[in-house]
């Protein structure tokens, strides 16, 4: 098998049976806030990452963060620091940790935990206002976390 083919098979497998390679939210290993291991083993897609970051019902990162490289986003928020140069300030593992559950890095952070399923007070069914039983689906899937990470990794100080 050529390397390319092997990769294609691996990708197909990962897509078909996410449980095989995905780290589930409760099994993520944090080391001082950082997460060294990819949550999926599949490299993230930065273009898909931008979509997640700017879509209200998904990551909506721009609700709180300015990203100067995304000038088309109307009304970015200013609650968190601008993400410009984030990849020069943090390692890939640290950024994966922040995007997965920032509370391990910034105690008591206002930033939501995007890959977490339980331990909530009055958990709801997305934005309906109705109650929902835990475990909730995480706000972002493992692959969406990797996609966002892939984009944030492009935000270096040149």
């Amino acid at each position: 098998m050529t390397r390319q083919l092997a990769l294609a098979v691996a990708v197909a497998l990962a897509a078909a049976s996410p449980a095989m390679s995905e780290t589930s939210p409760n099994d993520v290993q944090f080391d001082g806030g950082a997460v060294a291991q990819s949550l999926t083993g599949v490299p993230g897609d930065p273009t898909a990452g931008v979509k997640v970051m700017t879509t209200r019902a998904l990551g909506n990162c721009v609700a709180c963060h300015l990203v100067s490289a995304l000038p088309d986003v109307p009304f970015p928020g200013d609650i968190g620091p601008a993400l410009d140069g984030a990849a020069s300030r943090y390692s890939e593992a640290q950024l994966r940790g922040i995007i997965t559950n920032s509370k391990h890095t910034f105690e008591g952070s206002f930033m939501p935990a995007f890959y977490k399923t339980e331990g909530y007070i009055r958990p709801g069914d997305a934005y309906t206002g109705k109650g929902a039983a835990e475990p909730l689906p995480p706000i972002l899937s493992a692959q969406q976390i990797e996609d966002v990470l892939a984009y944030v990794m492009t935000l270096t100080d040149e």
């Binding site: 209200r56 909506n60 721009v62 609700a63 709180c64 109307p74 009304f75 970015p76 928020g77 200013d78 609650i79 968190g80 620091p81 601008a82 410009d84 140069g85 984030a86 020069s88 300030r89 910034f106 206002f110 939501p112 935990a113 977490k116 909530y120 007070i121 009055r122 958990p123 709801g124 069914d125 997305a126 934005y127 309906t128 206002g129 109705k130 109650g131 929902a132 909730l136 706000i139 100080d157």
Partner: protein, 285 residues
């Protein structure tokens, strides 16, 4: 760039109350049929907020020029329609025996001052009462009518009419004595991080007021202006209806209007605005 970003990060982590709070500099004098009414939109925070807020601001100071202008003149304020309709209902002989609100209370101005002190614990019954609770009690116990419920047009109209009677008076909600346990309950809710986003009222309206959360300029979430005419909904909104929206936005299961939780929360949030003026019917986007 690099330095400023790190600084921003350090600031955000290290400082509990960001210096970057930006209500506009403006003053509100409302032109009304009875002449100009001065509204206190900014004042020293009540003592119980020591360590949390130094200055309290009406939500009016966080809205854009056009929205603020709509509240300067009753002629432009879309909420006044509700007040007028409320007056008609007030005088209508709708009771089971033909009573009207007016036949017991006289003119609506007899309720001047009430809006400024609600919610409160009623001296006679010991129950925690919002404006809606008082209206509902009159309807169902004194006039022999069905409840209007908490979201009906009739209820909105009556809230608007009665709130107007206290316009310009300082909010002065009691937090001690019989109110103390409710106030404590409300405070606890205010600081609880609800839902999958794990956000408390305090995160948005105490920690980050003045900041932009996407297109929204975060205010202190004060309710001195309620009921508000909300341009986005073309409707009049009570404080507890606003609470429903805010809790829903944290991906949480909301509480219902008139639940013990939201009544306690309304008392607590109202007390955070002690000293601001009742606006009567305000306008928000």
């Amino acid at each position: 760039m690099h330095r400023t970003s790190i600084m921003a990060a350090v600031l955000a982590v290290g400082v509990a109350f960001p210096a970057l709070a930006t209500p506009v500099e403006d003053t509100l004098v409302i032109e009304s049929d009875d002449g100009p009414v001065e509204i206190v939109t900014q004042t020293t925070a009540p003592a119980h907020l020591q360590g949390a807020l130094e200055t309290i601001y009406s939500g009016w100071l966080f809205r854009n020029d056009e929205t603020r202008d709509l509240e300067r003149d009753d002629f432009d304020n879309p909420g006044m329609v509700f007040v007028d309709r409320g007056r008609d209902t007030w005088n209508a002989e709708i009771g089971a025996k033909g009573e009207s609100c007016a036949s017991c209370h006289g003119g609506p101005e007899s309720l001047k001052g009430l809006r400024a002190v609600l919610p409160r614990v009623d001296e006679k019954t010991g129950a925690l009462m919002t404006m809606e609770n008082y209206i509902d009690t009159c309807l169902t116990e004194r006039m022999g009518l069905e409840s209007w419920g908490w979201t009906s047009t009739n209820m909105s109209d009556m809230l608007a009419l009665i709130s107007m009677q206290s316009r310009g008076m300082p909010v002065n909600v009691a937090i001690d004595g019989a109110a103390a346990p409710y106030w404590e309950q409300g405070k606890e809710i205010y600081y609880t991080r609800f839902g999958q986003l794990e956000m408390a009222c305090a995160n948005c309206h105490e920690q980050y007021y003045g900041h932009m959360i996407r297109a929204d300029h975060l205010s202190q979430g004060q309710i001195n202006g309620f009921p508000v005419y909300r341009l986005k909904d073309s409707a009049l909104l009570s404080a507890q209806k606003r609470f429903v929206g805010c809790v829903r936005d944290t991906r949480a299961e909301t509480f219902k209007p008139n639940s013990p939780e939201f009544k306690a929360l309304e008392l607590y949030v109202a007390s955070r605005g002690n000293g601001l003026s009742v606006e009567g019917v305000s306008v928000r986007h």
